[in-house]
């Protein structure tokens, strides 16, 4: 990587350090949740591991407080940048009352929170895509200047809702960023059994808008692509489909065993491009991060994760009878 890549991208040293911090935070929260799961303390984990660069690069390009997010279940990195904390993530993992996403009603990874402009998400994949389009349409009607980010896996790009949502956004030239995190697998099903096209980005032309494929292991490249897409959208030039190519470093979820469907060699190979490592290397090479700074960030992250875990573990569950609440509005 060239030394000045982040500067060329208009990112300050502090910003890339912040990016690194968020990437590491996402990773460490995730790793801790696996430990907690294996210790029988949390019933379920779904990971962002391997996808942090893309997520944090994308989130940095979006405008907190004005833009909207319709993320998918792996987007821990994205929601952290938009304001969720390690505590929030752990409250969700432990399914505690104060989980801001759902009050412990939903599995972890089902993000939401009005105060952060994060629309509540569900499990059936790709349903969030038309929602993002609807938010963009509504904002246009209300003459609000904002863009909407929505993400999904490459497998999920095969759902009808992707097609219908993308087409609608194309016709109305809405500022929606369709962010496909292509991590090569949909649970056990490899890319070639999911799609026959070269790149998911090839689908954009069928909706009359731009599609780009980028290195999802590179937060700077991702940042730039999303920034450009966002600006294009706000200029009224319509949506963009971005395929961020990466690799899912861990099993699909804590219920999965990936050894039956992919080789250890393949996983080891992918780990060489682990974005946490490669971005740290870039930051050092660029002279932005020295050992001390690295340690400082790492310590800060560890402390946050520790504190969050302890806090969440001891936090109260929702009241048993509260499952009856909020079927309809009052």
């Amino acid at each position: 990587m060239s030394k000045m890549r982040h500067e060329e991208a208009g990112l300050t040293d502090q910003q890339v350090l912040d990016m690194y911090y968020y990437m590491l935070l996402a990773r460490k929260i995730d790793e801790r949740q696996w430990l907690l799961n294996r210790a029988g303390k949390v019933p379920f984990v779904i990971s962002c591991q391997g996808q942090e660069a893309a997520q944090i690069g994308a989130a940095f390009a979006m405008q907190k407080d004005t833009d909207y997010l319709c993320p998918y279940y792996r987007d821990l990195g994205v929601v952290l940048v938009f304001g969720q904390t390690a505590k929030d993530a752990m409250l969700s993992a432990f399914a505690k009352k104060d989980d801001p996403n759902s009050g412990g009603r939903q599995m972890p990874g089902h993000f939401g929170g009005k105060k952060w402009n994060i629309l509540t998400g569900s499990s059936p994949v790709t349903t969030q895509v038309p929602h993002a389009v609807g938010i963009a349409l509504a904002a246009k009607m209300q003459k609000k200047e904002l863009a909407v980010y929505t993400s999904f896996g490459e497998g999920s790009s095969n759902q009808g809702d992707f097609h219908e949502g993308a087409n609608f956004a194309g016709v109305h030239k809405l500022p929606v960023i369709f962010f496909c995190e292509n991590n090569k697998y949909a649970i056990s099903v490899p890319l070639k059994k999911q799609l026959a096209c070269e790149s998911v980005a090839d689908r954009a032309i069928g909706y009359g808008f731009k599609g780009v494929s980028i290195d999802g292991n590179d937060p700077i490249e991702t940042y730039l692509a999303v920034k450009e897409a966002r600006e294009r959208g706000l200029r009224g030039e319509g949506p963009t489909l971005i395929e961020a190519v990466m690799y899912r470093l861990v099993p699909h979820s804590s219920d999965d065993d990936d050894r039956v469907y992919r080789s250890r060699e393949e996983v080891e190979e992918a780990k060489k491009k682990d974005p946490i490592l490669t971005f740290a290397a870039y930051l050092k090479e660029a002279g932005v991060m020295d050992e001390a700074t690295e340690k400082e960030i790492s310590d800060r992250v560890s402390k946050e994760v520790d504190e969050a875990t302890e806090y969440a573990e001891n936090a109260p569950y929702p009241d048993a009878e509260s499952y009856k609440l909020h079927v309809y509005g009052e």
Partner: protein, 327 residues
């Protein structure tokens, strides 16, 4: 008070709500210059422009899904499904998303969307333009289902649906559109969702119905009155969640209940109505709870003799009411 048709009441409700609240908008297939294939949105694009009366691409899951996103953001979309039969591609969005947003977010988000759809047969619409699909949705907490049978109710309930903070499926019997006329104030009024309505007071038998067949029951009741049989007729109006109190009261009143709907019998709304009665006022009954419904075949056939044999009509309802009265 003007006498207008059912469909004009629907249009009037939308027009008034769009005037009242700039967040209300309409989207669907052919709802723009065409004014809808039944012309329910007639005149709206002229008054409110194509920004608020949106001809969508032909994709029901997007119609629902985009409306859901817009509703969550703060708008009040009225999505039209061209025919109730074509709501099927949107089931995931309606059931997994609209109905569950409030609950799953622990009351952080909600989804004030209204989905209108013409249902029912008797218009030579064949299998896929005649279906009653309400029973597919009456086990989905978080949703409300409304199916008015008169112009007055249609206006008041559609306005209530649009203002409701939760998703409402609003089914309009397409045979009622121009057949059923009634007095409708041009003033602003809303009717409560969740409340059934006694459309005729009576003492011998109770008929519970909704939609087109409600009118068949009213006609039959007139005839029976001449024979000295007094029928009490309850219009469900809201099909989900049902108005249990009103059902129990109406059933208890006469002790003889006939449930009538055009939708097929097994698994239809009538089963739940009967179950409520059997659970709550069994000992008030003087006769088995009867149901007169569409036949349990996949959908209404096209050929005139088949359609006629399939459809209920005032005579069939009359026979069933009479039989119950003499039980």
């Amino acid at each position: 008070m003007a006498v207008i048709s059912f469909i004009d009441a629907v249009t009037m409700a939308m027009r008034e709500e769009m005037r009242r609240d700039p967040n209300v908008f309409v989207l669907g297939e052919d709802v723009g210059v065409r004014g809808g294939v039944f012309r329910a949105t007639s005149g709206l694009i002229e008054e409110f422009g194509e920004e608020r009366v949106i001809d969508t691409p032909l994709a029901e899951s997007a119609i629902a899904g985009v409306a859901i996103g817009a509703a969550a953001y703060g708008m009040r979309p009225i999505a039209e499904m061209q025919f109730a039969d074509f709501i099927m591609p949107a089931v995931n969005q309606i059931v997994s998303e609209a109905a569950k947003m409030r609950y799953r977010s622990n009351n952080d988000w909600n989804c004030p969307i209204t989905i209108r759809a013409p249902f029912g047969g008797g218009v030579h619409g064949a299998l896929y333009h005649s279906q009653s699909v309400e029973a597919m949705f009456n086990s989905t907490p978080g949703l409300k289902i409304v199916a008015p049978s008169t112009p007055y109710d249609a206006k008041g309930l559609l306005k209530a649906a649009i203002r409701d903070n939760d998703p409402v499926l609003f089914f309009e019997h397409k045979r009622c559109y121009r057949l059923i006329k009634g007095e409708v104030p041009d003033t602003d009024y809303v009717l409560p969702i969740g409340k059934a309505d006694v459309k005729r007071e009576g003492t011998d038998i109770t008929v519970i119905s909704y939609g087109l067949t409600l009118h068949f029951a009213l006609q039959a009741a007139e005839k029976l009155a001449q024979e000295g049989i007094s029928a009490h007729i309850l219009d469900l109006r809201t099909l989900y969640p049902l108005d249990k109190e009103a059902i129990i009261e109406a059933a208890s009143k006469t002790g003889k209940v006939l449930i009538v709907h055009e939708d097929n019998k097994e698994g239809g709304i009538g089963g739940e109505v009967a179950a409520i009665i059997a659970e709550h006022c069994l000992f008030d009954l003087d006769a088995p709870i009867k149901r007169l419904c569409g036949p349990d075949v996949p959908a209404m056939p096209y050929s005139p003799p088949l359609e006629k044999a399939f459809m209920l009509n005032p005579d069939k309802v009359y026979e069933a009411m009479r039989e119950l009265a003499y039980f």
